[in-house]
């Protein structure tokens, strides 16, 4: 049997058992100049994403666009139906009776915003993604329970296997391990 070549390393991951150490380590990793990094936690830790340099997201803009799009399309739909496609004289009121269209316009605004919010978030997060190399890290199943992880990817220009591993070890983790593809 042919000996398979070892796939290139995906990165190095450090494991922590509390959020404070993980945040401190993530900050040090960022200060050291590593940029292609990620951190993992069982619940949202704002300090952790700040520490790896995620300061803002595009989500609010996406949701705004979704809401405006939903509202505009909803309103235009009603105008099309009531003025152009199927005009009915109701009590002598004008066909373009826009105040009566407000409730549905509002609902369409909310619907557009909500759909853009959820599907925009999933798209930017690259989900659904059933396989990811980070799942190969030992103990990573605990990332959804009580462990915190800081990952430096091998794509990072500063990544050097020995030096980076040593640096991560100096941050006081429980363990530093290789993550394979």
């Amino acid at each position: 049997m042919r000996k398979t070549t070892r796939p290139p390393l995906y990165g190095l991951i450090a494991e922590f058992d509390n959020p404070s150490d993980a945040v401190a380590a993530a900050r040090r990793v960022h200060e050291e100049g590593y940029r292609i990094v990620d951190a993992f936690s069982p619940y949202p830790v704002e300090e952790l994403s700040e520490a790896i340099g995620v300061h803002r997201t595009h989500m609010p803009l996406i949701v705004l666009i979704g809401g405006l799009l939903g509202g505009t399309l909803g309103f235009l739909l009603q105008v099309y139906v009531e003025v152009i496609s199927f005009p009915i004289n109701v009590g002598g009121k004008p066909y373009y009776s826009w105040p009566a269209f407000i409730p549905v316009t509002f609902e369409c605004t909310v619907l557009g915003a909500a759909l853009f919010a959820v599907f925009g978030m999933l798209a930017l997060n690259g989900l659904p993604e059933p396989y990811h190399p980070v799942f190969n890290a030992p103990n990573f199943a605990l990332a959804s329970r009580d462990r915190f992880f800081v990952l430096v990817e091998s794509r990072d220009p500063l990544f050097e296997r020995e030096r980076t591993a040593e640096f991560l070890r100096s941050l006081g983790p429980l363990e530093v391990t290789d993550v394979e593809h």
Binding site: N18, P19, P42, Y43, M59, V81, E82, A114, S144
Partner: protein, 462 residues
């Protein structure tokens, strides 16, 4: 003194009970809640409850089959009372759903931490209540297979729906509400499904939860977007829930029937919805926390706060009743005045006074500390409110219709057996879905509970 023997009386210790009992850690919270789903043995009580609700669900299905084959004449509504149980139950269920959104969205925006342990459950309640609500107008059309006619689409019939009608507004409001509630609920579930994936012992569990969790891995970059989206969803759900019941009340308020045509309806309906919803939350969580041993997470504080919200919204509803009566008199409109008199002393007066008893008089007991702190009493009051809110819609809908402007077109309304099998059938269906939910999904948001334990405080280096 006698009162000091009350185990729920906390005047001795002068502290507000915590939203989570002390001593919990990330792993204890995770294990305790996920064990409810992942354990092998299913409690016998669950099977009994599921079986009972399954029987009722089948009663509902039987009624629907008979209705589809026969027509809506099997129900009691007919001229002059064209709207009865179908619309009463629709409004009742939608109202119950609203507390779920209130708890998950409005209390999140108000930073009320106690919402965390009940929001998942309340959101599920919303979804299932909206599912039950949707059945009624759908079946009331008599031809549910043509329900897509409600939506505007290019068609060979050459007609389009009427967007100036509140009934069309209702179609859009309720379908948007169902969609957004489902999105909000599922978004909240994703990280917990990842926990279940990682903790499931069977291959089947890992695969199913793995697919449902969409590959969630708790990345800080993902969490950053997730948090923003969760907050924004809460922000847009808040006006949504108010708009939905406002539009439901427009179904009546836009009409000219005495007893319907009144501008107090939108706020009065919204308050009533929250009132009914909190009553249903209490009805469900008091037994649930007991049988599932969740007293650590759903503490006395949750029950008391829910009781207080119920009392406050109950007073708003009582103001609505007062305002209706006052305006009927003050309007000097004889049709409005007769409508009110007909409620007080007419043929259905018994139901009006039952409504006042259930919704206005009995809930005043919550002012008393001992009642507020007794789970049994809170449960009893909540049951009165559940009944009262149903009676409220009964008073508003058929009682207003049965005697309107022209005495020659007056009539009496009585439900048939199929009105009841349909109504109790949906109650069974609701509980059937609820039982499935508490067995197969985490009833408490695990990742949000983790943020509540003391370890979650980030200690900054000096």
């Amino acid at each position: 003194m006698e009162r000091f023997d009350d185990p729920y009386d906390d005047t001795r210790i002068h502290v507000t009970p915590a939203v989570i009992e002390p001593g919990h850690t990330f792993d204890s919270v995770t294990d305790k809640i996920s064990a409810l789903v992942l354990r092998k043995r299913t409690p016998l009580g669950w099977w009994v409850g599921l079986a009972a609700s399954f029987v009722l669900t089948n009663m509902m299905l039987g009624t629907i089959i008979y209705l589809v084959f026969t027509g809506i004449g099997i129900w009691g509504n007919n001229q002059p009372v064209g709207w009865a149980f179908d619309i009463i139950n629709f409004v009742w269920w939608i109202g119950i759903g609203h507390a779920g959104t209130l708890i998950s969205a409005i209390l999140l925006l108000l930073r009320q931490q106690w919402r965390t342990s009940i929001n998942r459950f309340a959101e599920a309640m919303t979804l299932f209540a909206v599912a039950c609500a949707g059945l009624f107008p759908l079946l009331h059309t008599g031809r549910p297979w043509l329900a897509y006619w409600l939506f505007p689409y290019p068609n060979t019939m050459g007609i389009q729906p009427q967007f100036r009608s509140p009934l069309m507004w209702d179609v859009f409001a309720v379908s948007t509400y169902a969609t957004v509630s489902a999105l909000f609920w599922y978004t909240g579930l994703v990280p917990d499904l990842a926990t279940l994936r990682d903790r499931a012992r069977s291959k089947f569990g890992r695969v199913v939860f793995g697919m449902m969790s969409l590959g969630w891995r708790g990345s800080a970059r993902h969490w950053a977007r997730y948090e923003v989206v969760y907050l924004l969803l809460a922000g847009i759900s808040t006006p949504l829930v108010l708009s939905v019941h406002t539009i439901v009340s427009f179904d009546f308020a836009i009409g000219i029937i005495p007893g319907w045509h009144t501008p107090i309806f939108p706020p009065y309906f919204v308050a009533g919805a929250i009132y009914a919803g909190f009553a249903m939350v209490l009805t469900l969580i008091i037994p649930l926390r007991k049988f599932y041993g969740l007293e650590d997470f759903i503490t006395d504080r949750h029950l008391r706060n829910a009781g207080k919200v119920m009392l406050a919204t109950g007073l708003l509803v009582a103001y609505g009743y007062m305002s209706e009566a006052f305006i009927a008199w003050y309007s000097a409109n004889k049709y409005e005045q007769f409508m009110m008199l007909n409620r007080f002393v007419g043929p259905y007066a018994f139901y009006y006074w039952s409504l006042i008893t259930c919704n206005v008089i009995v809930p005043q007991l919550i002012w008393i500390r001992r009642v507020r702190h007794s789970h049994v009493m809170l449960f009893v009051v909540a049951m009165f409110v559940n009944v009262g809110m149903w009676l409220e819609r009964f008073i508003i809908i058929p009682i207003s219709l049965h005697r309107d402007f022209l005495p020659s077109s007056w009539g009496m309304y009585a439900p048939t057996i199929f009105d009841f099998t349909m109504f109790f059938g949906t109650i069974g269906f609701f509980f059937f879905l609820m039982f499935l939910f508490i067995r197969f999904l985490p009833v408490i948001s695990i990742f949000e509970m983790r943020t509540m334990v003391p370890e979650a405080q980030i200690k900054e280096e000096a």
